[in-house]
């Protein structure tokens, strides 16, 4: 049972999958997978319609978005204050707070906490933060088995696969593939799948229930993420659907929660905004089936030991960028993935990160450094659908454009010799600066362009421009530029 990905090396931040191809290469492969594209198209269309239906039930949706964005902005601008407050409240309620600068430190902390209990197995609630740091792999290296209990995460784990979506990580798999996987793999992890398992989702969910039941009832240690943590009260919130979260949060003796530092919100009443926006934006429901909130430990109910691990892992770097910091407002609803024309065609794996889609394209490069994910800011058409769908109003196109400039800058400083692109841009700058040069260039382009055009279109551009024209037609330049036309026809009329 070895996971495909190694545990992150010391000093590494995880997040991205080592050795994953750059987005353009990965996208090309994904686009050739017709089954994947059919799965994605059906799934994203379904969830888009549901989201729009329940969001439009609330005529103050935009007011809720404004409030959510403002609460997140207030928190980000005073993050130190709120984290210290959270630490005080959680500690006062009987919990223990740990701070982790990076993935390696968070993994060390969690592993030591599990080892202190003497247990060799943990049950897990679906958590992006623990995916990000590669916790399961790290625990495996220490001889501890982590069981994913969310149905989709279980599918990913049994298939030795990677998640492809924030909300529904196994969206790239259809029911038949899942049935085959359950039949082949469940027995190696515990309770095997029933004989002659069908591929009806109801039957598959039932198989997962039976497979995990005994683990829930006997687990002594659970690991979770957090959707929110309230600074004022120390209350931690987990939003889920299946009840696997409730199982993990209430039955074991020890609960370890790993939470990105940006998940803190100021007050209990601030939750009223997010508990309305999140379920409607993510699953398209008025409310998700189960939301659990707990404050430290409670005598006679739930875990006797609660640990909260506050994770930085690149978040303070993101915070330092005045344009990019808004990405920290993300509540991981995945609405942006479901409306993105690029994601719908490439799927999540192409992004090479646990955070795929539009939010991944702005979050991943900021968490790991632009040079580690230089192609991601370009993995977008900048159509803006993600910004419209985002419940916390992250202006993803603005951050993408900002990161594109950074990616170019990073390339420039990394290369001693300028790239062909940089040379071309420099030349273009000179030409655009000078009316005389521009007129000459336009004339040359008009002549040259019309010579190679067919039906007013140029299919293939020459030389280094070919890369651009491989996927696009270029309209043939007009016979004369506007400036020339003006001089001829209008100049004398003033």
């Amino acid at each position: 049972m070895t996971a495909r990905d190694p545990a992150p090396a010391p000093g590494s931040r995880g997040v991205v999958w080592l050795g994953a191809p750059s987005f353009p290469d990965a996208a090309r492969i994904a686009l050739g997978d017709t089954r994947l594209r059919a799965n994605l198209k059906r799934a994203t269309a379904t969830i888009r319609d549901k989201r729009v239906a329940v969001a439009s039930e609330l005529d103050d949706w935009e007011d809720l978005r404004d409030a959510a964005a403002a609460i997140k902005n207030r928190t980000a601008r005073h993050l130190d204050h709120y984290l210290v407050r959270l630490e005080e409240s959680v500690t006062a309620a009987g919990g223990t707070v740990h701070w982790a600068c990076d993935a390696a430190e968070a993994n060390r902390i969690v592993t030591a906490l599990v080892q202190a209990t003497g247990e060799r197995e943990v049950v897990k609630v679906k958590s992006m933060a623990t995916q990000e740091i590669g916790l399961n792999e790290h625990l495996a290296d220490a001889g501890i088995t982590a069981y994913e209990t969310d149905l989709a995460e279980l599918i990913v784990q049994l298939g030795d696969d990677r998640p492809s979506h924030i909300l529904v990580p196994a969206i790239h798999k259809n029911r038949t593939e899942i049935r085959d996987l359950f039949t082949a793999e469940m027995g190696r992890w515990g309770q095997p799948a029933p004989e002659n398992l069908g591929d009806d989702p109801r039957e598959l969910a039932e198989a997962a229930r039976r497979h995990l039941r005994e683990k829930f009832l006997t687990a002594k240690v659970a690991v979770s993420g957090a959707n929110f943590a309230v600074a004022d009260t120390g209350t931690v919130v987990v939003v889920e659907s299946e009840g696997n979260g409730r199982m993990c949060l209430t039955l074991p003796e020890t609960l370890i929660t790993v939470m990105g530092i940006e998940k803190v919100i100021p007050t209990w009443s601030d939750l009223e905004v997010f508990l309305q926006l999140l379920p409607r934006s993510s699953t398209g429901e008025r409310m998700n089936p189960y939301t659990s909130t707990w404050t430290g430990t409670t005598d006679g109910d739930g875990p006797t030991e609660f640990h909260l691990v506050l994770l930085d892992n690149g978040r303070t770097d993101t915070l330092a960028d005045e344009v990019g910091r808004q990405a920290l407002a993300c509540i991981r609803c995945s609405a942006c993935l479901n409306v993105c024309p690029v994601f719908e065609r490439t799927g999540g794996h192409a992004y090479g990160s646990v955070y795929p889609g539009p939010i991944g394209a702005v979050l991943t490069p900021q968490l790991v450094g632009i040079e580690q994910a230089a192609s991601l800011p370009f993995a977008s058409t900048l159509c803006g659908a993600c910004y419209d769908a985002c419940p916390v109003k992250i202006n993803i196109p603005e951050v993408l454009a900002h990161l594109r400039a950074e990616a170019v800058e990073a390339k420039r400083t990394a290369n001693r010799l300028p790239t062909a692109e940089a040379v071309a841009m420099k030349a273009a700058g000179k030409v655009l600066d000078s009316p005389r040069l521009l007129a000459a260039a336009q004339k040359a382009a008009a002549l040259g362009g019309r010579a190679v055009a067919r039906d007013g279109r140029i299919g293939r551009l020459p030389g280094p421009l070919r890369g651009w024209s491989d996927t696009r037609d270029t309209p043939a330049p007009p016979v004369e530029s506007f400036r020339t036309w003006w001089r001829k026809n209008k100049e004398g009329e003033r």
Partner: protein, 216 residues
Amino acid sequence: MNSRDAILGRIRTALADVPAGEQPHDVPVPRHYRRSHAEPGEDTVALFAERVADYRATVTRTDRAGLSAAIAAALTLRGVEQLALPGGFPVELLPAGRWQWHTEPLDIPGLDALDGALTLAAAGIAVTGTLVLDTGPGQGRRALTLVPDYHLCVVRADRIAADVPEALARLDPTLPLTFVSGPSATSDIELDRVEGVHGPRTLDVIIVDPALPEQP
């Protein structure tokens, strides 16, 4: 330097653009959103019943006099006999019959052997069709309504808040809270919603209207 100080130091460096004198409350939060999405004068109890039913849970409305019969009818329909009964549940409401009521202490295997649980609720939320349990009298600890496969929940009409903001204002965040909107569900397979995964696969709700008298 320990990690706590390192992270807090990095945050302060990252926020160099924030004026030194700025307090958290100086950052404005516009709250123009509605306190409730129920229409003025709307029957929130009827709305609650409708929205709970949307999740494929069964909803019954009864008055105090009909409550025992409503409980008996639900249990009979579901064919459950062994039930967890939390401390503080008003025993005079229990129907006479073949049902076995199991009270604490109950360990996890003991809970797992039962057919279901019968509880009260701390609150309801009409617009979202949500029940909230806060482990108070008649609700039991969280495992009670989680491990058995059937949950029958009795909610007083006067405990039903119109919408999320009002409900949160009524609840005590220092208690462990569970918000329940229908039976457990998943959409993980082809986004096809399936009710009944790890939590109770069946949820029945009885609304008591007018309300029960306060428990002493």
